[in-house]
Amino acid sequence: MRSHFGHLVLYSGIVAVFFAALTRRDRREQLRFGGLVWLGMAGGVLLLAYLMLPFPR
């Protein structure tokens, strides 16, 4: 797979599920925490990319 966005979604998904399972025991808490981690990673990258838009290479 060469899609940067695809890797962003997949990688942040793996990390989010891992940390949710590692640090939370309650299923609802796991979903909440995992979702927040995933959104933080994927959303943070997209936000950063948007902020960098005015600065082309």
Partner: protein
Amino acid sequence: MADSRPPGEAAAREISPARAALAVAVGWLLPGAGHAMLGRLRRAALFFVLILGSFGLGLAHDGRLALYNDKERFLTGLQLLANVGIGPADAFARRSVYGEVAYAIPQESDPTYVRRIETFRKRQRSAVSAYGTAYLWTAGLMNLLLLLDVWDIAMRRKD
């Protein structure tokens, strides 16, 4: 905080430090196996899939299997630690990629020098190598974190 479980149950779940160390060692040998040994089977299965899945993605995307370099000891040492965290799977991967279980850049006079360096650089030049490296190192680091989790569970610091 006091243990709220009945004394019999708490005693039954007591694990000796030797068994805890064994669980950590088993967890390093096979991701998730430490949790399985402590009876956390569902979590063990999930961690096994996540870590070996990430490792497989890393290999499939030409991830860098770090080689220790005397000129950059600190950084290459950390990279190697992240790789080796996955356990013996790293050694199998190195054997398949480099043709031998190699962990360092050999001396220039060594007959394996050219082949090893070229293999390393060829993978590094791949368009997807950066992704692969992230998956590989993440897999190793996640497994190292799991070992701490196994120890904490065994020592009853965590459920």
